[in-house]
Symmetry: C2
Subunit: 427 residues, 2 copies
């Protein structure tokens, strides 16, 4: 178990910025024009700047596959063709998705940041998260840009990791060293999380010199091994974005070592995102094995962690393992009706619960499963802690016995806090 103080000290150590980066934030209040309710409390927006000391040609970005993406995603895809990138400007509260003149508004915000930073507008990447459909408070954001630039500092990524939070309970930062350099990633994401080849908002900063093309290839593989294997609520965001920036201030000892470290940072951030998912009391880790191909292993794991009935049973520390078998059967029946489920073997917390078409349940197993669920619980009752007390998960192994392909998916339970958070998110 971790205490809050231990978590803060650990975060500070993770947050040491790689050479060549500065981050800064500023905040203000505004009233969304779509609500127009004088009685409504004003919304609070934080602007976060991630700036390079010198614009870099070596940057990579992945964006949501949602067919109706936000304006920052549309702009971000174009920025991939720019010769260099110098800064990222991020706002929370309003995601700028399909809002009237959303692209023009985002470009004007970029231009304001660029002016304050001495950059060209095309060197600034916009990124937004929050309510879908609302317009950005453009004038307030343009006016706030110089304050965010004035707040830039080179010591810690923590202000940025806090600045991009929405319903997140705590900032998410992970760090790895590579030779004399380092990789530091920050993430936000607690709801509307089922990345589809990209994800949430994740910003990875490194001073390790890795050129554009290998950086882009490494980021694709890292996202595939991390963010694309998680689901909090099966809803794929319109704003999912992962960006990696390499300042080049330190030499790269070995591209393989860099990619391994990048995958590690992304996997740890993916775990953090799930652990901090809206209302989550338990992380569920499903290792699917014995599949004819990796696609089946990945989609079957997602199907299990997305089943509301599996999720609510875990919430209640109730080893209602029949629902896991129902979820496996639903997925195979709907998508792979010709696969033989007769070799299915399931364990939970290392204990065999299903084999040869039959459950293996008795009172001793029941008690062991309850103990495993209770041991993985992050918290049982309010108040909700604003730090992760431990990193244990509910451990499921699903072996189809039909091949060598495997994948490990992360998800969480479904709780009263998720309903409370989302039944009136905008108010």
């Amino acid at each position: 178990m971790t205490s809050r103080a231990e978590h803060r000290a650990w975060l500070a150590a993770q947050a040491i910025l790689p050479a060549g980066f500065r981050v800064g934030t500023t905040s203000f209040e505004f009233t969304p024009v779509e609500r127009g309710d004088a009685a409504a409390k004003p919304a609070h927006m934080t602007i976060t700047l991630i700036a390079l000391d010198r614009p870099t040609p070596d940057f990579a970005a992945l964006f949501t596959r949602n067919a109706l993406p936000g304006a920052p995603v549309l702009i971000g895809r174009r920025r991939l063709d720019q010769p260099t990138l110098g800064a990222i400007i991020v706002n929370n509260k309003v995601s700028n998705v399909c809002a009237p003149q959303g692209v023009a508004t985002a470009e004007r915000v970029c231009a304001a940041a660029a002016t304050a930073l001495g950059l060209l507008p095309g060197q600034v990447l916009p990124s937004s998260t929050g309510v879908i459909g609302w317009r950005l408070p453009e004038d307030a954001m343009v006016a706030a840009a110089p304050a965010a630039v004035a707040a830039l500092q080179a010591g810690s990524a923590l202000p940025a990791a806090e600045g991009i939070m929405t319903t997140d309970l705590y900032p998410k930062i992970r760090r790895a060293t590579v030779g004399a350099g380092s990789i530091v990633g920050i993430a936000k994401g607690a709801g509307m999380v089922e990345p589809h080849l990209a994800t949430m908002l994740v910003f990875v900063m490194t001073d390790v010199a890795v050129a554009r093309e290998p950086l882009r290839a490494a980021l694709r593989r890292a996202a595939d091994a991390s963010f694309n294997l998680i689901s909090i609520d099966s809803d794929t965001s319109t704003s999912d974005t992962v960006v990696a920036l390499a300042s080049g201030a330190r030499p790269c000892p070995d591209l393989g070592a860099f990619e391994a470290a990048l995958i590690g940072v992304c996997q740890e951030l993916a775990g953090d995102i799930v652990r901090n998912g809206e209302g989550i009391h338990h992380v569920i880790r499903v290792a699917v094995r014995g599949c004819p191909d990796q696609g089946i292993a990945r989609s079957l794991g997602k199907a299990i962690v997305s089943s509301p009935l599996v999720k609510t049973a875990v919430c209640g520390n109730d080893p209602n393992v029949g629902r896991i078998v129902a979820a496996v059967g639903k997925h195979l029946g709907a998508h792979h009706p010709t696969l033989d489920p007769g070799h299915l073997r399931l364990t939970m917390g290392g204990r065999l619960i299903f084999e040869a078409g039959t459950f293996c349940l008795d009172p001793t197993t029941e008690r062991a499963l309850v103990a495993h669920l209770q041991g993985a619980e992050l918290y049982a009752t309010a108040p909700v802690p604003d730090y992760p007390r431990h990193e244990r998960s509910v451990e499921l192994v699903v072996d189809l016995g039909l091949g060598d392909a495997a994948a490990t998916t992360l998800g969480g339970d479904l709780t009263h806090e998720y309903i409370t958070e989302n039944a009136d998110y905008r108010s």
Copy 2:
């Protein structure tokens, strides 16, 4: 608005049994061997018999596409080849899925009912709903069979509609007349409901003379137009079963009229199932239009009513319409990435909210949408009523503008009551 007394009177009128049918129930308590906890409260099981005065060759049944179905489904598929069927025996509380010797146990229960009814075991169809993984209390069920036979009566389907309930709040019965005959359907299903070519437990009784093959064809089309267009929680049950029995006591005036009436009964029962879904405060009806084919219309509707974020927003009477667009975009991006979403047009409660790639939101629209959501609310606070107060829905129209295919899907919101119901369903 309906009162409880009005609902009971309406149910009694719906429940008049077609000629040639009798139903009866009996109940008892037992302790599941898998729990073995002396402190646990015993479980309560009801056995429901649906019996024909004379076995009929004219019966039809559809079963779940879940790849790990229950023993009654395995047996039921075999019964389709039997020359005649004389009765259905249904139990709640334990679904007999992948339990040790589950098929043999279900056959022994059928044999006990057959002996008491003067039938052959192969003339009795078993059907079970409840906890997955537990064993049926075989001895208690065999002992109870004569009491269920003794309780048979020909007046009302209500005891059967009540006997098959699990977490249902009220019985579900719908009736239509065809010439001198009638069709009466009863249904149970409140959770683990996303039928895949079959569904939940639904038993349709008719005295209209329709032969086996046209009855089976009509039932397939009726399920496709009703149960296969609903989702409560996206979990496809291992036990979904729809059975239709025709006693043949009345002539069939016209096969088309019969099928239209059957479709009507099934659509009304499907609506009842959603309206009574676990924890549901609002029914959500999504009419998807303008699709290149019906498959897209059906799957897009399912995707919208299965989005946890759409569902929780509706729960809170919060017109967070951005989440609807996110759900549309997730589905199209993942499954139809080449379709152009640029013609998308959305209305809610008849009010335009999205067109030409842009939201149309302002304070007047916001207030109208809140009023529409509030008007469709079945209940806002405890106590939960055990009857449906009205049949209004949250009305969404999603027009892709890309063709003529359409489908209307029903789902519900996601509420605290769903979590409470399912976080410790078995206790």
